[in-house]
């Protein structure tokens, strides 16, 4: 499973959204209906699944699905 697919499956599960909605440029808040608590929970799941830590500063820069994938890549996640 590619990183992209893994991330999208996590997002579908956590936010209860469809695969079709999970386009790379989809914004968590504007397109996927997430609130700030949803995003915290999603990030916790990412930390748990990919064995990384995401700081609050880093979290602030994440707006879209592509942002998450890019960020995970900079952390060396494959």
């Amino acid at each position: 499973m590619t990183l992209e697919v893994k991330v999208i499956e996590l997002i579908m599960e956590q936010l209860g959204v469809t695969r079709e909605e999970c386009v790379p440029e989809a914004s968590f808040v504007d397109d996927l209906g997430a609130d700030s608590l949803d995003i915290v929970e999603l990030i916790m799941e990412m930390e748990e699944n990919f064995g990384i830590q995401i700081s609050d500063d880093e979290l602030d820069k994440i707006r879209t699905i592509q942002d998450v994938i890019d960020f995970l890549k900079t952390k060396g996640v494959k």
Binding site: Q14, L15, G16, L37, V40, E41, M44, E47, E48
Partner: protein, 409 residues
């Protein structure tokens, strides 16, 4: 006016099923399946069975809400459907919700503590607090049905559900609202609650015979059986109900609340606080002991409660006790704590509607210390029921009594 009913109980997941259950004397008590109870003294409970939460909440909600919130949403759905009630935008501020709970989301707190121990505080869910707060049952119901008037959550232990309905009745009488969604909910069949009630020696340990474990007023009783469940009533201002042609089940006639000011968990001998509470409800309803047909007792199946409650009934009703039927539906449902007052009010309404008084099951040998009372042993009885008194008494000395009556246009 009572215009809608909803119930989710260990003996049925709808009002119809639960009512059929209590009238046929069916027990909802069985082995605990929600967690591994092998190290617990008590291994039985009244769990909700065969319930599909996804009919009422989506997967995301199910993961985030504690069970007590899911149960309250499901039961509110049933009650709102039963009342055929849609709250239009212009009525939202005149509609409210009061749902009581004794312990709220204890299972969530327990699980999150396990997360801390396993992986540290960074692994605590951001939804832990909103899943645990007891008032979030009412909160989520208000969001779903856009109820923008009064909202509250009485936390008065085993009397919480009755406080909720009584206070909602006041909200309408005091003109704070035209419609109130009111009831009680509990869902704490979890290791901590069972262990903690065991530590108090409050629970029955009749593990080898679960259906016989809850036996209020029987000489052989050995404690209450912990259960989960929810009961909700739709209360409506008279003209509001009349104007929309609502089906009226009955009405709340009186509400009494008192405090024992005695002990953190035990009632005083003779339970004078309960007696004062029953008297207060009668006074509020402008009724006399002779006006009550049926008492749905608190009747928990603990050694102390049942005797003292029976004594309090004798003190309030005097020689009227020879005429009044007294039963404890907890003999079948177990004790739903904050949910009890809600579910038992639903049973009170059904008793009036159907002219049937549900029995006290497992009553083979009435405790002589309870004196002469007709506990409707083991078999339901037909009776024209015009009025019901519903008793609930909670830890902390919190007592609440409702009187419900037949609607006479």
């Amino acid at each position: 006016m009572i215009t809608g009913l909803g119930a989710l109980t260990p003996i049925g997941n709808s009002v119809g099923e639960a009512w059929e259950g209590v009238c046929s004397g069916r027990s909802g008590i069985g082995p605990i399946t929600k967690f591994d109870c092998s190290a617990h003294e008590t291994k039985i409970a009244g769990e909700i069975k065969n319930f599909d939460p996804l009919v009422h909440v989506n997967k995301k909600e199910l993961r985030r809400y504690d069970d007590f919130i899911v149960y309250a949403l499901a039961t509110a759905d049933m009650a709102m459907n039963d009342a055929v009630l849609n709250i239009a935008n212009d009525q939202a501020e005149r509609a409210g919700v009061i749902i009581g709970s004794a312990i709220g989301g204890l299972p969530t707190l327990e699980k999150e503590k396990e997360n801390i121990l396993r992986a540290g505080p960074r692994r605590i869910s951001p939804f832990a607090i909103p899943a645990a707060l007891a008032n979030l049952a009412a909160g989520h119901v208000s969001i779903r049905y856009q109820l923008k008037g009064p909202i509250n959550c009485p936390v008065t232990a085993c009397a919480s559900g009755t406080y909720a309905i009584g206070d909602a009745f006041r909200m309408i009488a005091w003109d704070y609202a035209d419609v109130m969604v009111a009831g009680g909910v509990e869902a704490v069949v979890c290791p901590l609650a069972v262990g903690a009630f065991n530590a108090m020696r409050a629970l029955s340990t009749r593990n080898d015979d679960p259906e016989k474990a809850s036996r209020p007023f029987d000489a052989d009783r050995d404690g209450f059986v912990l259960s989960e469940g929810c009961g909700i009533l739709i209360l409506e201002e008279y003209h509001h109900a009349l104007k929309r042609g609502a089906k009226v089940y009955g009405e709340i006639a009186g509400y009494g609340i008192t405090s024992d000011a005695f002990h953190m968990a035990a009632p005083p001998p003779g339970h004078e606080g309960a007696a004062r509470c029953m008297t207060a409800a009668l006074r509020d309803a402008a009724m006399l002991p002779a006006d009550i047909d049926y008492i749905n007792a608190h009747g928990t199946s603990t050694p102390i409660n049942d005797i003292y409650e029976a004594q309090a009934i004798h003190n309030v009703f005097g020689d009227q006790v020879s005429r009044i039927l007294v039963s404890s539906t907890k003999s079948m449902t177990g004790h739903m704590l904050g949910g009890a007052g809600g579910v038992e009010a639903v049973f009170a309404v059904k008793a009036i509607e159907e002219g049937i008084v549900p029995p006290t099951i497992n009553l083979n040998q009435p405790d002589p210390a309870a004196g002469e009372l007709d506990f409707v042993p083991n078999i339901a009885r037909k009776k024209d029921v015009r009025t019901v008194m519903s008793n609930t008494f909670g830890f902390g000395g919190a007592n609440a009594v409702l009187i419900l009556k037949k609607f006479q246009p």
